[in-house]
């Protein structure tokens, strides 16, 4: 089990007796920092105490106490427990909190998200625009007093479904006969839509002054996406180009923002599980894993021994197929259309057959429950897992390497194209294979072991050149390590029950907060949940790996050629379902 967050290793109160107090609310941990001293304390946390990786920043709207809270989770890249600190401000507009972007650049997108969805203004943020919704959108949706157009009730289950549940379309209940809500007296004909000047102005941020003095060249703005075959979904990237060189770049996202957090806060704890499947839709097993570990932390329940092994087996199989697809898709982006991805999808289909046999669905498995898993692995599926792990997958990984690794064109495209060095990666809170390819052996399965990962013998895959070639090769290393874990897990898996709890469709979760995180194939996947003892969470926030990793893309691509950009973006292995939620 992961070390509980309560074992704080530093005593901030002793260091800052005037500006820091311990969070004494029952079930809560960490420290509450005074707003005026936030920057000073944060600098000390980074420099004196060594918490160099700020993973999650999010806000909570405590409407009953008339307070807004910003929660920060900082960790050390050397491993170990984290540090949680919070800032509380009165819920009076404008809600203002100093921005920590100057200390951890990785707070950038997450602060923008908190501004967008909660309306917390981060003073000193260099580029505070809406990030998931569009400029001009009315309201801040995650505030507790903000209701959606199709709002029915505060919490599920809705009363209109039973016992007198006549089917109606939600559209019929809405005055606009659609999922729409306009301010009172709104006149669409007189409305002038906001333009995107702010976005294009922000593109100029990185361009050095005086650069144009030598030779006057025109810079052109190119918008890639949201419909683009190589942006891995509906991501849009605004790029300024000087010839073929990128001089400015901004990702624009939110084209798949499906309101995961808001819907999650209305769901019961159990109902969230199938929704997490749809975050990173390549790895529903990993998402389930992250979510249930967080809730188990809150509920303080044990997990059945056999279930722990089943979870590890599923998560690692998921990682293998994800990395194979990554390789296939990277080849697509480089122009090796189809053949490698067809080979990758073949292995993926075989892995999905296993998922289908154990959980019933190929992609949206919905397989984990609090305390265990839904059902045991059937014998024929176990045999299939063994066949794949001991027999097919090692051979196919070798074949894939033989197929691609020495290909001269591939080497020319990948070798020596710099991605991200360790310092920048940590600065921008990048986690996952990209960080490890930069030489930082930070893998949560080792750094802060969860589940039963501490029982397996495996190496954290690390490479040191931080170029595209290393980023590509590290996926093969990780596949091999996953296979090692799988071999041990299959051999060690004990007999026994698969759930420590009785099946129940409503679980009791004591009041409190928890931040749980796992090493998903894309990086750190975190869940921050606040419970107030009711059947549905008070605050439910996902810290997705893709979203936070993408912060580095701007500084990473400046100066690169536009032809390399698609491949550079592919290195993060982004998935829009997770990025936009």
């Amino acid at each position: 089990m992961a070390a509980p967050a309560s074992t704080q290793t530093v005593d901030l109160v002793a260091r800052f007796p005037d500006s820091v107090s311990a969070d004494a609310r029952p079930g809560y941990t960490g420290f509450i920092v005074k707003k005026e001293n936030l920057l000073e304390v944060a600098t000390a946390i980074r420099d004196e105490f060594g918490y160099d990786l700020l993973t999650a920043v999010t806000g909570v709207d405590y409407i009953a106490e008339n307070k807004m809270e910003v929660v920060y989770h900082a960790y050390k890249t050397t491993g170990g427990a984290g540090l949680t600190f919070k800032v509380q401000v009165d819920r009076v507009d404008p809600v203002e909190v100093p921005s920590v972007v100057g200390i951890w650049a990785g707070a950038d997108f997450q602060e923008r998200e908190a501004w967008d969805l909660l309306g917390i203004k981060f003073t000193g943020h260099p580029d505070l625009r809406r990030i998931l919704m569009w400029e001009g959108y009315e309201g801040h949706p995650l505030r507790k007093d903000w209701k959606e157009p199709f709002f029915e009730e505060e919490a599920k289950p809705f009363k209109s479904r039973w016992p007198d549940g006549q089917h109606t379309f939600a559209e019929n209940k809405n005055p606009f006969r659609d999922n729409l809500k306009f301010p009172e007296g709104f006149d669409p004909e007189a409305y002038q839509p906001e333009n995107e000047d702010d976005l294009y102005a922000s593109l100029e941020r990185f361009r050095s002054k005086g650069e144009n003095d030598r030779l006057k060249t025109d810079h052109i703005v190119v918008n890639m996406g949201p419909h683009h075959p190589s942006t891995h979904g509906v991501l849009r990237v605004a790029v300024t180009l000087d010839g073929e060189t990128i001089t400015g770049l901004k990702p624009v996202m939110g084209y798949l923002h499906r309101n995961h957090d808001k819907i999650g806060e209305r769901n019961t704890y159990l109902q969230i599980i199938p929704y997490t499947d749809r975050l990173d839709y390549f790895n529903s097993m990993s998402n389930n894993f992250g979510y249930v570990t967080t809730i188990e932390k809150l509920m303080k329940i044990p997990v059945a021994e056999r279930a722990e092994y089943i979870r590890v087996i599923m998560a690692e199989l998921s990682r293998i197929q994800n990395h194979l697809i990554f390789i296939g898709m990277l080849m697509n982006d480089l122009g090796t259309m189809y053949t490698p991805s067809l080979y990758a999808f073949e292995e993926r289909e075989l892995v999905l057959d296993i998922f289908e046999a154990v959980s019933g669905a190929r992609m949206m498995c919905n397989y984990f429950r609090f305390g265990g898993v839904v059902r045991d692995i059937p014998d024929f599926a176990m045999q299939k897992i063994k066949d794949l792990v001991f027999d097919r997958l090692p051979a196919k990984t070798d074949e894939m390497e033989r197929f691609l690794n020495e290909n001269e064109v591939l080497v020319a495209r990948l070798k020596g194209i710099h991605v991200l060095n360790a310092e920048d990666a940590i600065k921008y809170s990048v986690t996952g294979p990209v960080l490890r390819a930069a030489g930082v052996p930070y893998d949560l399965r080792r750094a802060e072991p969860y589940s039963v990962y501490d029982r397996f013998d495996f190496d954290v895959a690390v490479r040191h050149n931080a170029d595209m070639m290393d980023n590509y090769l590290i996926r093969f290393d990780e596949i091999r390590q996953s296979l090692r874990i799988l071999e041990q897990a299959i051999k060690q898996i004990p007999e026994g029950p698969i759930n420590s709890q009785k099946p129940a469709y409503q679980v009791r979760v004591p009041a409190g907060e928890a931040y749980g995180r796992i090493e998903s194939p894309k990086g750190e996947l975190g869940f921050y949940v606040v419970s107030n003892g009711k059947p549905n969470p008070y605050r439910y926030h996902v810290r997705p790996a893709s979203f936070v990793n993408l912060q580095a893309v701007e500084s990473m691509c400046i100066g690169a050629k536009i032809a390399d950009f698609v491949a550079l973006l592919a290195m993060f292995d982004i998935v829009m379902g997770e990025l936009d939620r």
Binding site: K156, W162, G165, E356, S359, R402, E408, Y505
Partner: protein, 207 residues
């Protein structure tokens, strides 16, 4: 030599291409049919699959594992004279547990007493909201709602299913999920036997 890596890679594709024909020949020599047979499909989904990987839907179909789930349906037992004995008691657990809240149940009230009768008057599932999570089937205490194997349900209209369209016989359920059905039947029988034993024991104790 420049180009060696490419040739090495091409040898992999060449082998894959060639495997299709060697496999075909080896199946032919053994006198077995590789296409349009269950055995052939199973082999193409196993670890030994080589060469052609395609399962030619709709002529062939992948072998669905028992747990495969698509959309829910309601089970009824066939009573005498084709009477449909619906297992559902309209307790509403499925409607409560449904994450996207796509189940609507109208409970039946006895017109004389006004008290609820354990049978639904109507049952709606909006198939275009359903997220195929399988919670309804998992938490139903009466084995009344189950997940279907039939995925060929695309249509030219929005899909809102009512009670009539949702009902399928228990024999169908037993055919798609034999192991689950057997286990559940067993459990139900055991429960009824226990109940009967208790009922017997009670008058005995009273006497």
């Amino acid at each position: 030599m420049y180009g060696k890596g490419i040739l090495k890679g091409l040898s992999v594709t060449w082998k894959r291409f060639w495997d299709t024909y060697t496999e075909d020949i080896s199946w032919m020599v053994r006198g077995k049919k590789r296409y349009n047979t269950q055995e052939g499909i199973a082999h193409r989904s196993s670890k030994d699959t080589k060469g052609i990987f395609t399962v030619q839907y709709p002529e062939e179909q992948l072998i669905q594992p028992e747990e495969f789930r698509y959309v829910p349906f309601l089970v009824y037992d066939e009573g005498e004279e084709g009477k449909k004995e619906i297992r559902c008691t309209s307790c509403g657990i499925c409607a409560k547990v449904c994450p996207p809240q796509c189940i609507w149940i109208v409970r039946t009230n006895d017109p004389s007493t006004g008290r609820p009768v354990p049978v639904p008057t109507n049952f709606y599932i909006d198939m275009d909201i359903c997220m195929n999570c399988g919670f309804c089937a998992e938490y139903c205490p009466f084995d009344a709602i189950k997940m279907d194997h039939d995925f060929d349900i695309a249509s030219y209209e929005r899909n809102v299913y009512n009670l009539e369209k949702l009902l399928k016989p228990a024999s169908y359920y037993n055919s798609i999920r034999p192991e689950n059905a057997a286990r559940e039947d067993e459990a139900r029988r055991a429960k009824e036997a226990l109940k009967a034993a208790k009922a017997e024991a009670k008058p005995a104790a009273a006497a």
